[in-house]
């Protein structure tokens, strides 16, 4: 332990430490009946505080031990904590438990981001997952939430076990748990199994089956959280695994996994009737793009500074996905047919949703456009032509439902019953957050200079 402390400057762990403290504080604040008004603030405060601390963290130059604070970890922490803000602001529930769970999960993600060896990755993975199971289980609609949590748990447990198995194999091959390259069939197998653990968390085909169920039954804002913060952390996990050995068979397979996932998610989303499930599949499709990007990035040498395209994708997706799920929360829409003719009932809402959908679909000048462009570009640079074509087909197929929803809202006549029903006004607070998500999603595509900023951020 002394060695561990000596190796790591505690300042690098500031966000995690703050989060840990806040988890304790939340649980304490829940004890007496007094102070109820304050613990509600702890969630957003914690996320923002962690964000600010991550922003001020200086990358550590010294040789990493269990903890490694490099550009990637800081960058991803920023992303993760920022993505959690909407969820933190909109947390529902009568007690402090969800806040604590969220902060705990964030703590796990932070640890994952700054992990310096494989074991820490595993610990971070479990740390962020366990509270998430419980968060899902506490969903507003009880029965589906229970079912989804159960599925999430077993799938997650299996994924964790596979990761662990891979860890053991890799350890056996390389004699160390540190991030170091090693070769041989055992290392390859270990890498692949660790990769499966990460791919499961990202939601790649065929490890994705839990994902639609969870996103569908979770509260929309939670789904937004899972699809952004959690996914970002999972992507980093994948990147760490892939970066171990850029010339491994796993990295070679990764773009194909990404392409297939992107297409699979897009195709399955086409005929979904429940909006959250549709967005879940769309999230799978986006995850496929990211995986493609990760594969390309790793194949190109896994240079941290060049992960900016993945980073941009996740940043864009942060706004788009949170925004889309928040829209569902604000309007209370569940079924796809309910959006028909929405533009006539709720013009601002329809506009926001349309912008978000077009962004998700990757139409310029939205953020989603530049995100896709960068990923495709990365893949082309890595000569992953087959996967990029799959991803291109996925982009086309995905427009089938994104644009289909726009069509429903704007072009189709509402059913008589719906036309009569007044739009359900969401709370003002949520609407502001929704707009705050939609605005960057709409215009970030015009900011290619962000790539340079991200690149500098991610370079150690």
């Amino acid at each position: 332990m002394a060695q561990f402390l000596a190796q790591t400057s505690l300042s690098g762990l500031a966000p995690e430490l703050a989060l840990a403290a806040l988890v304790c504080a939340t649980l304490m604040a829940g004890l007496p009946a007094s102070g109820r008004r304050y613990w509600k603030l702890i969630g957003p405060l914690g996320a923002l505080c962690a964000f600010a601390l991550a922003l001020t963290t200086v990358p550590a130059v010294e040789a990493p031990g269990l903890i490694r604070v490099d550009g990637l970890s800081i960058g991803w922490q920023l992303l993760i904590f920022l993505a959690a803000v909407p969820f933190a602001l909109l947390l529902r529930g009568e007690d402090e438990v969800p806040t604590a769970l969220m902060l705990g999960s964030l703590l796990g993600m932070g640890l994952l981001a700054s992990a310096g060896n494989l074991l820490m990755l595993f610990i971070g993975l479990e740390f962020m997952s366990l509270p998430a199971y419980l968060l899902v289980a506490r969903g507003a609609r009880r029965a589906p939430a229970r079912e989804a949590a159960m599925k999430y748990f077993f799938a997650g447990g299996t994924g964790g076990s596979l990761f662990l198995f891979g860890l053991a194999l890799y350890y056996a091959a390389g004699r160390t748990l540190a991030f170091s390259a090693s070769t041989g069939p055992m290392a390859e197998a270990g890498l692949a199994l660790m990769g499966v653990g990460a791919l499961f968390k990202v939601g790649a085909f065929p490890f994705h089956f839990w994902l639609p169920d969870v996103y569908e039954s979770a509260d929309p804002e939670l789904a937004g959280f899972l699809s952004t913060s959690m996914k970002a952390a999972a992507v980093l996990l994948l990147m760490r695994v892939a970066a171990l050995s850029p010339h491994s068979g796993f990295v070679r397979c990764l773009p194909w996994v990404g392409g297939v996932t992107a297409l699979f998610g897009a195709l399955l989303a086409l005929r979904q009737q429940r909006l959250q499930r549709l967005l879940a599949y769309s999230s799978i499709s986006h995850a496929g793009n990211v995986i493609l990007g990760v594969g390309a990035w790793a194949a190109l040498g896994a240079v941290p500074g060049e992960a900016s395209s993945i980073y941009y994708y996740l940043a864009a997706y942060l706004f788009m996905s949170n925004g889309a799920f928040l829209f569902l929360r604000q309007t209370g829409l569940r079924e796809r047919c309910e959006v028909t003719g929405l533009s006539r009932r709720d013009a601002p809402g329809a506009l926001l949703f349309a912008v978000l959908l077009l962004a998700l679909g990757g139409i310029p000048p939205t953020a989603g456009f530049l995100a896709k462009l960068l990923i495709f570009w990365e893949a082309i640079k890595a000569a992953a032509y087959g996967p990029v074509i799959l991803a291109g087909a996925a982009a086309l197929a995905s427009l089938g439902y994104y644009l289909g929803l726009v069509r429903q809202m704007y072009l189709d006549e509402p059913l008589p019953a719906q036309a009569a029903a007044p739009a359900r006004p969401g709370d003002r607070f949520g609407s502001i957050i929704l707009a705050a998500c939609a605005a960057p999603a709409a215009v970030l595509g015009l900011a290619p200079w962000l790539i340079g900023v991200f690149s500098r951020l991610l370079s150690p």
């Binding site: 077993f154 299996t158 994924g159 065929p206 490890f207 491994s248 068979g249 005929r271």
Partner: protein, 626 residues
């Protein structure tokens, strides 16, 4: 022939006026006169016709007496760097002589039309289109390059479309107009492509530049160009196989038939061949082909004309036949006689049509039938005289104009060989036969089957006088042969001059006159010896009748070909809808169905989810360890 550098400044005023007058007249008529006084639309146009005629005669006399000529580029039309297609004017013997005929006949027919069309509600429209045609025809004759020629070639076709369909309420007129323009378009394919090829080979299509090059060199594609030009000419000049639009084009008003579909526009094809003769003569086989097609068309159309009853249709087939004669003559290598016949034919055929128009107008009908006329020589003496003069001219009777031109062609045929002799004689016989049959049945008799033109009256002066003047041309045209020989040689674009009209020869005279006499004799028999024969054979020999009615089976074939194109189009449309668009429409459905099937994978059971994960991990392991 003097050559002058390009530019409008060097353009002599008669040439400028030839274009400026009709353009100005059209603009004034369209924008000023027509809105205000539609009935006066023709006034500026007639003035323009006078100017044109004067200029044309002036130019002709310059060419005749001073051997004057002009080939002037007038600045770029289509330009791309050093690639240039320019406007230009070419005045030489060929264009000046044809232009003189066109402007005189055309001007007079304009006058005639102002009487003929006076009652028509579309009076203004008629004159505008008619004069537009006139402008285009002048441009066509004065073009100095193939591309500009194509411009006006298309414009005359366009005007012809408008005028054939002038009475658009009539279904037959609409069909005829469409048929005319589509057939012409089919022929234009040849001219368009020829211009493209010449342009690609020579970077230019000016006659004055390419013909000497062609004559002095060998170019592979020139043969193709020759055939394409002939193809274009068959459509415009109504030769087999594309002749069929012309008889139907008689749906237009009579002045249109007279000016465009007899005297001038349809001769554009012959003009094109004459213009291109330096090119065509270098192409092996082509002149013979031209001669054969011309002779065949002339004879076949002549035979069909013998069986027609509608006055204008007889004349239409006669026009086809006479165009065939010109083409025949050209094919024999005799440019001068062919062009000479073009000019004389312009005169006498115009008279014939206008006389037929007078009759129809007298009957208050758009056209007249042999059944309705007969014995008109007393009721319409002036028309009778004019018609007779023109008919004698057409029949090739000395000393009318037609004799001289036809005789020159016959002379060439007689020197060519047996088949040409036979063809020449047959042409002479059929021409005389149908025109004398028409003359006898219309103006003599009436035979028992004819109504004899009840209530018919002689044409008003405004219609009679122009006819008289043109008839004068028919009478005198033959005397100008010598001058014509001088004119046509002037400004010929290649060094090898063309032959003048042949000298008079007794043998040719004898053959020609006896052929005409035979034809006239048969017509005599039909009309006077057995007056009801013309009506009876149709019922007696239905097979013959249907053969002649269907132009020996060619018309049904054309209908079949048209139906084929339509069927092809429908097939393309169906293919596009069912296959190409079907694939497009089907793709989203397939994707959706795939998505629907894919949903079955997610059964909802935890065990299956984990199973999928393990299976995926196994597959990935396999792929990695490979």
């Amino acid at each position: 022939m003097q050559r002058i550098p390009g530019g409008f400044a060097f353009l002599p005023w008669p040439v400028i006026l030839l274009f400026a007058a009709p353009v100005a007249a059209l603009l004034v008529s369209f924008f000023i006169v027509r809105p205000a006084r539609p009935r006066w639309t023709h006034v500026p146009i007639l003035a323009s016709c006078a100017v044109i005629a004067a200029c044309a005669i002036w130019i002709l006399s310059l060419v005749l007496f001073q051997n004057w000529g002009l080939d002037l580029p007038l600045g770029g039309w289509m330009v791309a760097g050093d690639w240039l297609v320019s406007y230009g004017v070419r005045v030489d013997g060929l264009s000046a002589s044809v232009l003189a005929m066109v402007s005189i006949v055309g001007g007079l027919i304009h006058v005639y039309a102002s009487g003929y069309m006076a009652e028509d509600p579309g009076f203004a429209r008629f004159f505008l289109a008619f004069h537009l045609f006139f402008l285009a025809m002048i441009g066509l004759l004065l073009s100095n390059s193939y591309i500009q020629l194509y411009l006006f070639w298309e414009l005359v076709g366009f005007a012809s479309y408008l005028l054939i369909g002038f009475w658009w309420q009539k279904k037959t007129a609409r069909r005829a107009a469409l048929q005319a323009i589509l057939t012409n378009r089919l022929g234009d394919f040849g001219l368009f492509l020829a211009a493209l090829i010449l342009l690609a080979v020579f970077h230019n299509t000016r006659f004055a530049l390419i013909f000497p090059a062609i004559v002095n060199g060998h170019y592979a594609l020139v043969s193709l160009v020759g055939f394409l030009l002939f193809w274009a000419a068959t459509a415009k000049s109504a030769q087999f196989p594309l002749y069929f639009w012309l008889p139907d084009a008689m749906e237009g008003p009579t002045p249109v038939s007279a000016l465009m579909h007899a005297a001038t526009m349809v001769t554009a094809g012959v003009f094109l061949l004459a213009r291109s003769w330096p090119l065509i003569s270098t192409v092996p086989v082509l002149p013979d082909l031209i001669a054969v097609v011309g002779a065949f068309t002339a004879i076949a159309a002549g035979i069909v004309a013998c069986a027609k009853k509608d006055l204008k249709r007889i004349l239409a087939y006669s026009t086809v036949s006479h165009l065939g004669i010109m083409v025949f003559g050209l094919g024999l290598g005799e440019v001068a006689p062919a062009v000479y016949h073009l000019i004389t034919h312009g005169f006498f055929k115009a008279v014939l049509f206008l006389c037929a128009g007078n009759i129809a107008h007298g009957l208050h009908q758009p056209t007249a039938d042999l059944d309705q006329v007969g014995g008109l020589r007393k009721k319409m003496p002036f028309t009778f005289v004019c018609f007779t003069v023109a008919a004698l001219s057409l029949g090739g009777i000395w000393p009318f104009a037609g004799y001289f031109s036809k005789d020159a062609i016959l002379d060439a045929a007689l020197h060519r060989g047996p088949w040409a002799i036979v063809a020449g004689v047959l042409i002479g016989v059929t021409s005389a036969l149908y025109i004398f049959r028409m003359l006898f049945l219309t103006f003599f008799g009436p035979s028992p089957r004819q109504k004899g033109g009840e209530h018919i009256h002689e044409a008003e002066p405004v219609m009679a006088v122009p006819v008289g003047f043109i008839t004068l041309g028919t009478l005198l045209g033959g005397l100008l042969g010598h001058s014509f020989s001088t004119v046509i040689k002037s400004g010929w674009p290649v060094a090898q001059p063309i032959a003048a009209l042949p000298e008079f020869s007794w043998s040719t005279f004898a053959v020609g006159m006896s052929a005409a006499a035979v034809g006239a004799g048969i017509a005599w028999v039909i009309a006077f010896v057995n007056p009801s024969f013309d009506w009876e054979w149709r019922t007696k020999y239905p097979a013959l009748e249907s053969a002649l009615n269907s132009d020996f089976g060619w018309k049904p074939f054309v209908r079949l070909a048209t139906a084929g194109v339509v069927a092809l189009a429908n097939a393309a449309g169906f293919f596009d809808h069912a296959v190409v668009d079907g694939a497009v429409e089907g793709a989203p459905r397939v994707a959706g169905a795939a998505g629907e099937q894919g949903r079955r994978l997610a059964t909802g059971r935890i065990n299956d989810y984990v199973w999928w994960m393990l299976a995926g991990a196994a597959v990935l392991l396999l792929a990695v360890m490979r």
